[in-house]
Subunit: 378 residues, 2 copies
Amino acid sequence: MKFTVLKENLNQGLNFINRVAGKNLTLPILNNILISVEKNFLNLSATDLELGIKYWSLIKTEKEGKITVPAKILSSFINLLPEDKINLELKNQIININCQDYQTKIKGLSAEEFPIIPKIEGSNFIELNCNNFCNGLSQVVDFVVLNQNRPELSGVYFNFKKNNLTLATTDSFRLAEKVLSFEEKINQDFSFILPQKSVREIINIFSEKEGKLRFYFSQNQVLFEYLMTETPHPQVQIISRVIEGEYPDYQGIIPKKYEVQAVLSKEKLLNHIKTAGIFSGKTNEVKIKLTPQKEGIEIFSQNSESGENQSFLQGQIKYNSSPKEMEVSFNYRFIIDGLLNIKEPEVIFELNGEDGPAALKPKTDTSYIYIVMPIKSI
Amino acid sequence: MKFTVLKENLNQGLNFINRVAGKNLTLPILNNILISVEKNFLNLSATDLELGIKYWSLIKTEKEGKITVPAKILSSFINLLPEDKINLELKNQIININCQDYQTKIKGLSAEEFPIIPKIEGSNFIELNCNNFCNGLSQVVDFVVLNQNRPELSGVYFNFKKNNLTLATTDSFRLAEKVLSFEEKINQDFSFILPQKSVREIINIFSEKEGKLRFYFSQNQVLFEYLMTETPHPQVQIISRVIEGEYPDYQGIIPKKYEVQAVLSKEKLLNHIKTAGIFSGKTNEVKIKLTPQKEGIEIFSQNSESGENQSFLQGQIKYNSSPKEMEVSFNYRFIIDGLLNIKEPEVIFELNGEDGPAALKPKTDTSYIYIVMPIKSI
């Protein structure tokens, strides 16, 4: 193996794949990345057996070959090199790196010992807009629950139907749902659950990218692929296993109507809830109160140790039936989590009494909804 | 106690004094800050018994009084309030806070229980330039050693002589010294050792300030004071105990000459040393090598597990006597620490053989020197 690569390209690839290397402690080879040179492509791969990432770069190849090297050492070293060409050459399992006045040798391990990252057969793919897809994922990714008894709740639910993709998560206290649409219509509806970690990596790697992402699907694996701009060759691939199991039928939890609806400034509501949170004590409980004559909501909290807080936030209030007083308790952190995923300046907050699920959604964008259960009174 | 204060002023004060509140776990009252209102001044105080911070702000007073309240609750609450006037009123040990649509009560504890922060008698002070003083402190503050057997090494040595202030620290592996000058000439030389924590607070609080800082000194305490711009009244005071003991006579360690001197780019040297550090293994050892014919230094490191690195850095080399080959080992982290405290683009690196102390200093500024001992060969 002997080739020349630009520092910038090698560094970018290492930054992508490094995120998954070295996270599995039981199998030391997983601390390494696989470097392989074939034709005029360099390919870097890393895997933790659940999730694999592959990166390709165009290079000047003198000799093909492959080796694995410790990910951490290689990437911290390459990161410090000057912005220039780097020459790499494999001699007796040792990779020799030359760049300007630097000469370095890193000990490798045979490529044979590296686990095979599964491939997906078939050529059918769906094209997704990188930016919309990643933004949608980030609006739901936080609300999974890592519970071994209910593995199906530990990932993001993907539901492809005609030309819509619905993303959903729930940890049984709150639920988030985002609907995205894509251009082509698919022949057969399908769904799967993707581990939270894989979703986070998709967001990290693809959210800065422009254009389209290709999505391939098989029984147990999914693959997300981004192409090079210079040539129709993949630049980055993320291959992940899917979680076995049936996603719960959560649609019933989303309330179809509301008892009272408040349209509020998002930033102000966030601030009022945070302020109330300071006095909420160990239960994190804050109370939202509506009084028919008042054009806004009141927020209360109190705590025998430190004190109490009350504040009023103006807004447009609409009752579904005859106006009546209402007081609902929430974990203030759950309200904050929902608000932080809404990007519009105004939010709709819908309440359904002291036991019914409440909803937070952007004022105009109907594609996102966040449901939160009240704290039940004893 | 009843007064009105601008959120901005109260918030600034809380940010200053909060840093010292709540760090002493044995005495719960120290989690509180003392709020006291006298004439048209609000005074906030906090202490950990070693270090006290006081802040004053001009306010509209309706009634004088004092109380202590939990620092963390008050400051996180005030921080979230809108930028407006805040009304505070004490009723039965409870502080009532009103600001726009927020009404809050925070439980207090009697001011009688709060420890007295010592005062310094006398009116003699030395005026120091805030910016220069804080920059100088930050160039030495890191190199103390928190060793109970040698408490005198756990602080920064201040030595006032004529119109010079010398600041020094050493952890016995390296030593940093900075000389500052001030305008007036003092009558009697004096010196003391200030705890590292107090020095860090001085840097944090005063480094953003313009103009002069007043320094007062007594047997066991020192006081740093910054005045308000509106009126000649203190705005912030830091009162700290000094460390008992004699500072070691470190001057003998600073080499008076060198065997070889290299003038190098600071950024490049930093990068070369970091790169070598990756392959230095557990000892952190990197080797610096000088060869008479070469106009620069070579940097080596190797490690049986991961590999090895060598690089060459160009520079102007000057030998004191007849040129000879030299190889010196250092802990690479110590070299990095020294370089990070030099703000000039070029540094002077002076070596005194494999056992002699080496020096790093800015190329033109003679007021700073950093000494580092080599790793002794077995």
